[in-house]
Amino acid sequence: MTEESLVLHLPVLATIAIPLVAAVLGLAAARRSIVKDITVIAGFLALVSAGYRLWDSRTPIGSGPVPTDGTIRSVTSGIPALDLGGLLIPFEIAVSTRTALISLVVAAVTLAVLAFATWYLRDDDRLGVFLATVSLFAAAMQLVVHSADLLLTLIGWEVMGFCSYLLIGHWSRTPRARRAALKSFIVTRLADVGFVLGVVVLAAGARSTRYADVIEFWQQRPGTALTVAVTGLVIAVLGKSAQVPFQDWLADAMAGPTPASALIHAATMVAAGTVVLAQLAPLLASAPWAMRLLAVSVAVTMVLGAVLALGQSDLKALLAWSTVSQVAVMLAPLAVFPVITGVESGAAAPTTTAAALFHMYAHALFKALLFLTIGWLSLALHSTLASRLQGSARRLLSRIAVVVGLAALAGLPLVVGGWSKELVIATVAGEAVGLRGYLVLVALLVTVILTAMYATRAALVLLRRGPEVPAEPDDELLSTGELRAARATRSALRIAHQAEVNATPFTPRAVIVLLTLATAFGGVLLLGFERVLGVESHVSGTWLLVTLALALLGGALAWFLSGDGDLALRLGPRQALWDKGFGADRAYLAAVVTPVLALARAVTKVDDRVVDAPVRAAAAASVRWSDKVGSAHTSRPLTAVSMVGAGLVVLVAIGLVLALVAGGSP
């Protein structure tokens, strides 16, 4: 690679490298307050560099222009390529306007989370580690976004998973956080088997891990192998994105600190699958069975997530399930590609991937906003329970933030979520062919209604003053983590925060203001960026109207059902079922954990009693025979003589028999 190209795509590298360096420095200085400055400044620098990249994307890099049509062009990352004889690992990274845009969103959300966390966790003795982990997480996500090499993607993918483990388990003093962290990692890791095998199969065919090579090779060879590989990738994406049947970890994962939830839900982990699948879209399009799997899963997930969100007693859990549902929406366009069978079809419909990425972008903004706002509000009340948060958004900023965020979630026009949702539905409707397409489309429409319902519910809870709930002594039973976590933390929330929240300092306010602005105007802003997304900004009037109508219908329904209380209270005792995610956790235990542990115990027993048995038996037999033969040996001279005689007879007999046998044959 030339010197020149390195300089030209330096900003790309910087978006990955800056958070990485910050993470390392942060870990080294974990106990000192300087870590705050390091990570936040690094987050800012990464944002600047991602922004620069996007702004600069008209400047050609190296030998050619930056592609804007959804295709990617890969350039060397500066890491020397590896040739292992039969496998080339070029370690290349991608340049395209889309990756630049996603990278910008990731950097922005990361910075918001970092800044918010410095306030939110200011009394936590492990704040430094937390911030460093967030930086590492961001670096991993940036790597996934920019990767043009299966292996780099895998690296980012897995590192992100581990960081999520660390972040979710940050408040490790509570059993709930410990369990949630473990569960999230194990579930996603299980799904990642698909990723590993998928990467292996893809690379094995192309003898290279470069996206371009892999796509070029496999597009011409659709078949079982490709189906296996892409199915593997899809399974991994379902896992990381918490889609059915892996959906349950994400709800538990909110046992982590709210900023961590914001990061995981908004721009990184759960959305990573969308990025990867969008970049490998041509392969997906060549593997219809993988798409069918994806379609069924997202269709079920988006409805299930929305239904669950509707009935949660905890608003943070509501947001979590809404994430599950919305990620399914994100993935929906990717599940409805027309199957590509020919050789010459080239890149799969850029519009489709653009719709997915656009929704990801939108979701990142409004979900970050919602999480941070909820976190902000909850800090005063020590709880994220709906019953406790009733009417908590009293101040103007919080009211605006809640309204804008939930409007975006519900998909109302003008705010960013509205644009993106409309694009998704229009795309799916445009592409929908066959059962798969219609299934997804119907699910989408149902989801629009449900989403509007739970968004309305959340808005009503937060904005409407309800009956005053006295501080209950049985906090312990009701709380869902945040509170117990706070109690257990040595100093984090020892002091009552009511007063402090009223005097919330500049930083978190600024974060929420900026996110609110981005959510409100991001969509409009983006419409100006046709070239960035590589699609015509086609706003389909029909679908816009349909969506709006459905959303309003949902909202009205929710309003009506709520009366003057919380809608979810109508569920009565059945709400517990919702809080448990319809018992998925139990199913996991019964279907996977218990059998595996039983198997492990059996194996341990077998290892001790069967595998090792011959060894012990041999040792015991040696000792036994040693004693036996030793004591049978007498010191009688005649025995010695007789043994000589017997030996002679045996020797001669064996010898003669053998000699005769050998002599008899030619």
Binding site: L82, L84, L87, L154, L166, R178, L182, T604
Partner: protein, 498 residues
């Protein structure tokens, strides 16, 4: 220089074992450190100048005392030297009871020197002799300096270790002799060319003998039952040597002898080896899910990790050999790291068992906790840390392997990928029980003498230095596998593309 790098630790070790009783602890430590440094310096010089050594030794059977360095052995030589040095340094803060410090250090030095000789040997028979040289000192480490609480366990573990290894190595010797007499040369370099031309039957026989023998050392399922016992009882330094150096000798032997010399014969039995490796991966992972003794758990995780290395080798591809080599190094540093942490805790607490509440390391000893979680992350194959490359490439190699009937090796690859999930499960199980602590109010277990006070949990003294080096190695190899692969690439290619 190369000869000196190998001989200095062995001779100095013998001297320390024989005459060191009179030496004070301090003097013994300094002497050992000096020797280890001298050996490291000599080795570095030998590598720099490309030194080799070759002269007739036992003409009766045409054995030449031949030492040399190539890309395949260089990383292992470096690993051995560094680990040897670290174990000597570690002794400054943890000298196991059971005998004179000089005896301990002497045994460590001999074992290190023997391993160096094994990796540097360019003659099959010299390789075998060096292979055996390590036995007695390591037996001494286990038998004399092992777990002071249980004498029977020490005796049993030591004997198990020696007898298992001897059965394997003598079997390997038979294989070596069969190979040497058939090929007419015992030089490893010449065997690469000469062995490949042997008839398939001979090759298969030789490969069976060699693989069966070396499989004990690796260890390959179901020949692994010596490892947990040895690891559990050995002192920390001994465990580190066992895991980071001794096990590597087995896989190195597999690369050097069957894979390089009798490729066709090896190819015929490779599917069996691959299946055993895959079983070992899953087996080790499953046992780790319920094992309650920490060092035993790590030992079983070694079985799983070495399963990846074996699987890679069994693929018979160039990528596979590369994967095995880096997997070797990675497992060396990662297991050394974990054993230093867990072994150190065991020495402080008397035992590390998961069936009783343990203190949250991340609270009580944040530095040690960080190292532990990093080690566990590496053990579960997290990308960016050392073990990832070997394991991922092993799966790749098994998938692309031309050997075996039908989809057999592909199934093995899939099993290995599942094994990675088990690795995650058990690594996080350890993290959950030891790193974050399972009780809300973590208590430090009482010290061996029953007093609660004065139990130092955080790393101290030389241990910190050792852990720092290992952490850096784990991260460096993880981030830049080029460090290893750029060294090995050329020679692996020569060996694999005849």
């Amino acid at each position: 220089m190369l000869l000196a790098a190998v001989a200095v630790p062995v001779l100095a070790g013998l001297w320390l074992v024989a005459a060191g009783r009179g030496l004070s602890r301090r003097a013994a430590l300094d002497a050992a450190l000096l020797v280890a440094l001298a050996s490291a310096g000599l080795l570095a010089a030998a590598m720099w100048f490309g030194d080799s050594f070759d002269r007739a030794w036992i003409s009766a059977i045409g054995i030449r005392l031949s030492l040399g360095i190539d890309g395949i052995s260089a990383p292992l030589l470096v690993l051995t030297t560094v680990i040897g040095l670290l174990v000597v340094v570690l002794a400054r803060s943890h000298t196991p009871a059971g005998g004179a410090p000089a005896t301990y250090l002497g045994a460590v030095l001999i074992a290190t020197g023997g391993a160096l000789a094994t990796f540097a040997a360019r003659d099959a028979v010299v390789f075998f002799i060096a292979f055996e040289l390590v036995l007695i000192p390591v037996w001494l480490l286990i038998h004399r300096f092992g777990d002071p609480h249980d004498e029977n366990a020490r005796r049993d573990a030591g004997l198990r270790f020696v007898l298992f290894t001897v059965s394997g190595s003598v079997l390997m010797l038979v294989g070596i002799l069969a190979l040497v007499s058939a090929a007419g040369t015992s030089s490893l370099d010449e065997l690469v060319a000469a062995g490949a031309t042997l008839p398939l039957g001979t090759q298969t026989l030789v490969a069976v003998l060699l693989v069966a023998g070396l499989a004990v050392k690796v260890p390959v399922f179901p020949l692994h039952t010596w490892l947990p016992a040895a690891h559990t009882t050995a002192p920390t330094g001994g465990s580190v040597i066992l895991a980071a150096i001794l096990l590597k000798m087995g896989t190195y032997g597999l690369v050097r002898l069957p894979v390089a010399s009798v490729p066709d014969g090896f190819g015929r039995i490779a599917p069996v080896l691959a299946v055993l490796a895959a079983i070992g991966i899953v087996w080790g992972g499953l046992v780790c899910l319920v094992e309650v003794e920490a060092k035993r758990l790590i030992a079983y995780s070694s079985v799983a990790h070495m399963g990846f290395v074996t699987l890679a080798l069994a693929s018979g591809t160039e990528v596979g050999v590369q994967a095995a080599l880096i997997g070797n190094i990675a497992h060396g540093v990662v297991s050394a790291l974990l054993f230093v942490v867990i072994g150190g805790l065991k020495e402080r607490w008397g035992a590390v068992r998961f069936d009783r509440p343990l203190p949250a390391l991340r609270e009580h000893a944040p530095r040690l906790g960080f190292v532990l979680i990093l080690g566990l992350a590496a053990a579960l194959g997290l990308p960016g840390l050392a073990a990832f490359w070997g394991e991922f490439m092993a799966i790749y190699a098994a998938w692309t392997s031309p050997l075996g009937p039908g989809l057999l090796l592909k199934v093995c690859a899939a099993l290995a990928a599942l094994g990675a999930v088990l690795a995650a499960a058990y690594a996080l199980r350890v993290a959950r029980l030891l790193w974050v602590g399972e009780t809300d109010e973590p208590a430090i277990p009482t010290a061996a003498d029953g007093s609660r006070e004065g139990v130092q949990t955080e790393t101290l003294g030389s241990e910190r230095l050792v852990l720092t080096v290992l952490v850096l190695a784990v991260v460096a190899i993880g981030i830049a596998p080029h460090l290893v692969w750029s060294v090995t690439a050329e020679d692996v290619r020569v060996v694999m593309t005849r």
